[in-house]
């Protein structure tokens, strides 16, 4: 796997704390996140998540190459996109599904860039942003995970995805964390030291 992309809206802070908080600092891929937020929000979300996550959490910058073990949040009032060479980019194009950042914009461009190397995760939220993007991820051969609507604070985003596609799994947050570790083949065993040539 080359990357994980997460989309979330209403109820997102708690969901991200739980999900990202359950992942280790050595998580083997970058994690790209679109959380819907008001246009003038500061980068407070990154600060909050950094205090509860072993992963490094930051706001995405244009042109940066995403690194493993790092969470990149879409900045308020910008779409977050992935270029075909895997670098991140930003835009102020019109809102999509009434949202900027929009989950569909991240998912669709990440699907183009990473293809089978992408895991898309759609969490709690009102509205239907992310459904089409998740379907694109699936069409390009990537894996798709949806938070169990029964657990979600707002169930319409997960439900609208389930109406559009059959994802690889529908799980509560705790299950999503372990499935992500499984899919990205994170090993909890320490890797053996390479033997020195004699």
């Amino acid at each position: 796997m080359r990357a994980v992309a997460i989309g979330v809206s209403l109820g997102g802070l708690e969901a991200l704390r739980t999900l990202l908080g359950a992942l280790p600092a050595a998580f083997p891929t970058p994690i790209l996140v679109v959380q819907h937020m008001a246009p003038e929000s500061s980068d407070g979300l990154a600060m909050i998540l950094n205090t509860v996550c072993a992963l490094h959490v930051k706001e995405a910058d244009a042109d940066e190459t995403p690194q493993p073990g790092t969470v990149y949040l879409a900045p308020a009032n910008y779409h977050l996109l992935v270029e075909t060479d895997g670098r991140l980019s930003l835009s102020v194009d019109p809102p999509v599904n009434y949202a900027r950042p929009s989950v569909d914009v991240l998912f669709e461009t990440a699907a183009e860039a990473f293809g089978v190397g992408l895991v898309g995760v759609l969490l709690t939220g009102a509205g239907s942003d992310g459904s089409r993007g998740l379907r694109t991820i699936q069409q390009r051969g990537g894996r798709t995970l949806v938070q169990d609507p029964l657990e979600a604070v707002a169930d319409s985003m997960p439900r609208s995805a389930l109406a559009l596609l059959k994802p690889d799994a529908v799980l509560p947050l705790s299950g999503l964390a372990s499935r992500l570790l499984q899919l990205t083949q994170y090993s909890t065993h320490s890797t053996p030291r390479p033997t020195r040539p004699a």
């Binding site: 075909t84 930003l90 102020v92 194009d93 914009v105 183009e112």
Partner: protein, 275 residues
């Protein structure tokens, strides 16, 4: 569905053709946004693939212009990022007052919201007839909108909130008159403004500016074009002058880092050092 690679080949061929026929160079635009914009234009056109559209785009200027508008559409607001305008008012204007006459360049002005915002700010700060604003964009059609200064009335509520947060000194309603669902900005705001087509990707600069605004334009460019545009802006700004970029665009990690100083941390408003 063809492999995703085919779309990209078609897109590159179309952009190459557009450059050779019309001189508009989109080849160094960041592809993810460009691809989304092109695809949107395609779904709204009568063509089903870029290859199919190519002949018409290259032979029919009207089709090309609809493509150009689709590619360069820029959505902005008056006093977008109010804090940036507040910082200009409080930290930059005192320096600008020292010039007998002031030149401001709004590069990539789109439909003009930012240029009018600057005009209002300078009027309120007493510059009266001592300034000129050069508002440039690559798209002649969008410049016509900018010249007209007419915006949907439903946008005005947001503009008003931004204006107030940006430290506006009057009632924003003084600056426009509403008719039906449109609001027309006061024509006097336009008196000190010059609108011109200018292509940051290929054209040269035009004169020494005391303040250049180029916000949320660089994020659409690949590093090579970003470099070119920053260089163009740098040569256009007089020593001691100011450069205002978008909140997610910085001079940090560029070769210009040392020749500019950020006026207030993280505002992306920079002052050019004296050599």
């Amino acid at each position: 569905m063809p492999s995703p690679g085919v779309h990209h080949v078609e897109m590159h061929l179309l952009l190459e053709g557009v450059f050779q026929v019309y001189g508009h160079d989109f080849r160094d635009y960041a592809e993810a946004s460009l691809h989304r914009r092109l695809s949107k234009w395609l779904t709204e056109s009568r063509f089903s693939t870029f290859s199919q559209a190519q002949g018409a785009v290259l032979r029919d200027p009207a089709v090309f212009h609809s493509l150009l508008t689709g590619l360069t559409v820029n959505v902005t607001e008056m006093f977008r990022d109010p804090l940036a305008f507040k910082t200009i008012r409080e930290q930059v204007v005192p320096h600008l007052r020292t010039y007998p006459s002031l030149k401001v360049w709004v590069a990539g002005c789109a439909s003009g919201e930012e240029a009018y915002s600057m005009a209002i700010l300078l009027e309120e700060e007493g510059f009266k007839d001592r300034y000129r604003i050069y508002a440039t964009d690559v798209d002649p059609e969008v410049l016509e909108q900018a010249k007209a200064g007419i915006y949907p009335l439903k946008e005005l509520q947001r503009f008003t909130q931004n204006y107030q947060k940006a430290g506006g000194r009057a009632a924003f309603s003084d600056y426009y008159s509403a008719r039906f669902d449109r609001a027309m900005l006061e024509p006097r705001l336009r008196e000190r403004m010059v609108f011109a087509t200018h292509n940051l990707a290929v054209d040269a600069g035009f004169g020494e500016m005391h303040l250049a605004l180029c916000r949320n334009v660089l994020i659409y460019f690949k590093p090579v074009l970003k470099q070119r545009v920053l260089s163009l802006l740098d040569t256009s700004i007089t020593p001691g002058g100011f450069l205002c970029l978008g909140l997610k665009e910085g001079l940090e990690t560029t070769e210009w880092q040392r020749s500019y100083e950020e006026v207030v941390a993280r505002t992306r408003i920079y002052r050019k050092r004296y050599a």
